[in-house]
């Protein structure tokens, strides 16, 4: 009995095609479905994100929430907050907390060398002076601009207690400028309650 088709043993087709099916389903189909789905949550006035214990950020209205827990969200796992990733008209804002002891000036080189290339790719090019600022809450930070193949962005470093904060805003030049005020207001709203942070430790 002939078992060959195009030089391949037909009896090996079933297991091979099952695995092709697994691969196509998980690596092609599911990511495509994810791309088709709209954000289930859009920020509303008064929304406050929980970044870490005692560390919050007020949201501006109308941003799609890719990830991030609101202070009003109750999780069964008692999640202490985490990275907030927002999207609006091609502009993305990612606020990532992490353990860090030091100053914003010390944190910024780490962010530029390690974390930003991991998310933005190797084409990222930092330019301009490092600028210091003080938020309306009185917290200090440093910022620097960058460009990528897809557009431009701004990276900010702040430190609250033993938590470092990396803020990256990026997108096409015009869109980013259009959202600059909202981004600034969100960064300005970041506040830290040392007592609350200590209470959860």
């Amino acid at each position: 009995m002939e078992h060959r088709f195009l030089g391949l043993d037909k009896r090996t087709f079933l297991p091979a095609l099952i695995v092709v099916g697994i691969f196509v389903f998980w690596a092609v189909l599911v990511p495509a479905v994810n791309k088709q789905l709209e954000y289930g949550q859009t920020t509303r006035a008064g929304d406050v994100f929980q970044l870490a214990p005692g560390l919050t950020m007020d949201a501006q209205q109308g941003w799609g929430v890719e990830s991030g827990l609101l202070v009003t969200d109750t999780t069964r796992s008692n999640a202490p907050g985490g990275t907030v990733s927002l999207d609006n008209g091609g502009v993305t804002l990612e606020v990532m907390p992490g353990q860090f002891s030091g100053t914003p000036e010390e944190l910024l080189p780490h962010i530029e060398k390690v974390t930003v290339p991991a998310t933005e790719g190797k084409s990222v090019h930092f330019e301009g002076d490092v600028e210091s600022f003080k938020s309306s809450q009185g917290d200090s930070g440093v910022a620097q601009g960058f460009t990528t193949l897809a557009g431009e962005g701004l990276v900010i470093a702040m430190v609250f207690g033993h938590t470092g904060l990396q803020v990256v805003a990026s997108g096409p030049e015009a869109a980013l400028r259009g959202k600059a005020d909202e981004i600034e207001q969100m960064i300005d709203s970041i506040s830290y309650d040392a007592k609350k942070a200590a209470g959860t430790r």
């Binding site: 091979a16 789905l37 796992s77 985490g82 991991a118």
Partner: protein, 411 residues
């Protein structure tokens, strides 16, 4: 000690032949099979995994080299311990190293970087979109990884079934090959976690961060991918059936479901326990249940492996190479083997009896490799057994070779 005659019955030789044919013992694993579609799918998905791995680490791989280095060295040492445990547990039939390595690499590279990373990212984004961020935080991992990762790893096992159908036939084979796929996944994932945690710590104190991540994951390593995949692949053997294992669809699906449930409960432990350690306790209990299921499956299939071993060695009893006591001991469970070794006084004697059992097992493997015929390996192991027993010299292999007697003698 009663020794047999220097002739082998045709009945014993026939049984040996049947055992070798049915078990696939001693057959080599040939990976390069251009006429086998499983080979090409393996190669393509593995290439995808290599590209995925390169892309994953390309962003900050150089900057986080210390974290990757510490993670890699730690998991390599940890992995070697696991490999040693798995190889020692595989007492009866040692799977070919090339097959074990192929399984390991599928788990580590293809399953992880060609399928699981992409699928997990998508699933972890889909749940919050559909059910909200809090739901995604609590249940995203628990409702993603058991499906994405278990099927990704199982894909390698299915391909290996297509590449080595005569080598992977029993639930016993499923457990050991599955364990190596799972071990590969677990170790490569541990390095990936070391990288990710170093990234979230902004690359500060990379070695310390990577090592503490490794310690946290290594501590729970026993109830991790190695166990889940062993159970899942054992379930596949039952579900599909082989010439050696009658198809038992219900049992197969139950074992696969248990592996997925154990994985999911572990990943969702925090949410299940309402943030308390109760969830972890529950996950540990399900992990223990999975381990028990693997041990029961092994217990049920090991007698078959022992029968194969006995059939392969029976002619050697008739030939006088081994005694009935030695044959019984080498085919016996661990406790009985230990009793045999410790029989009589003196450490020297114990050590010699231990080596004798080892040599008898090696002889069985050499006979299997020679497909029941003669080889240098077979002659060497026979000589080794004779030496250990304190005999002057073994009979030459030519004479000891299959010399069937006309009248079959009872085995």
């Amino acid at each position: 000690m009663s020794m047999g005659k220097n002739a082998i019955s045709t009945e014993s030789l026939k049984r040996r032949e049947e055992a070798l044919e049915l078990s696939g013992w001693g057959l080599p694993f040939k990976f390069f099979q251009p006429h086998n579609l499983c080979f090409w799918v393996f190669v393509v998905v593995m290439a995808g995994g290599l590209v995925g791995m390169f892309e994953f680490y390309s962003g900050s791989g150089r900057q986080l080299a210390p974290a990757i280095g510490v993670g890699t060295v730690s998991v390599a040492i940890y992995g070697l311990i696991f490999v040693a445990i798995l190889r020692l547990s595989d007492h009866y039939e040692r799977q070919p190293r090339k097959l074990v390595l192929t399984a390991f690499l599928w788990g580590g590279i293809a399953a992880t970087f060609a399928i699981a990373v992409t699928a997990n990212n998508a699933m972890l984004a889909i749940y919050p979109k559909l059910f909200g961020q809090a739901f995604g935080t609590d249940w995203g991992a628990a409702l993603s990884a058991p499906f994405t990762e278990e099927t990704a790893k199982a894909g390698g096992f299915i391909l290996l079934l297509g590449l080595a159908p005569r080598l992977i036939r029993s639930p016993y084979d499923g457990i050991f090959i599955g364990a190596f796929i799972g071990l590969g996944f677990q170790l490569f994932e541990d390095v990936l976690y070391s990288y990710n945690t170093a990234l979230t710590a902004f690359g500060v104190d990379q070695a310390g961060v990577a090592f503490s991540t490794f310690l946290a994951r290594a501590g729970t390593g026993m109830f991790s991918h190695t166990l889940y995949t062993a159970l899942f692949c054992c379930g596949i053997i039952y579900a599909v059936g082989t010439p050696l294992q009658k198809r038992r669809l219900g049992l197969g699906i139950s074992l696969m479901a248990l592996a997925m449930a154990a994985h999911g409960i572990w990943d969702g432990a925090a949410a299940l326990g309402d943030g308390s350690s109760v969830g972890l306790l529950g996950a540990a209990l399900v992990g223990v249940a999975s381990l028990v299921a693997v041990l029961i499956s092994l217990h049920k299939t090991v007698p078959e492996e022992r029968d194969f071993l006995r059939s392969i060695l029976q002619p050697e009893l008739e030939l006088g190479t081994i005694s009935a006591e030695e044959l019984d001991a080498v085919c016996a469970p661990r406790k009985a083997r230990r009793r045999f070794i410790r029989d009589g006084r003196g450490r020297k004697r114990h050590r010699r009896r231990k080596h004798l059992l080892r040599a008898t097992l090696d002889l069985a493997h050499e006979i299997a490799r020679a497909r029941g015929g003669e080889s240098e390996g077979v002659a060497h192991e026979r000589a080794e057994i004779t030496r250990l027993r304190g005999k002057s010299s073994p009979e030459p292999p030519e004479k000891m070779g299959a010399t069937p007697v006309s009248e079959p003698t009872s085995a």
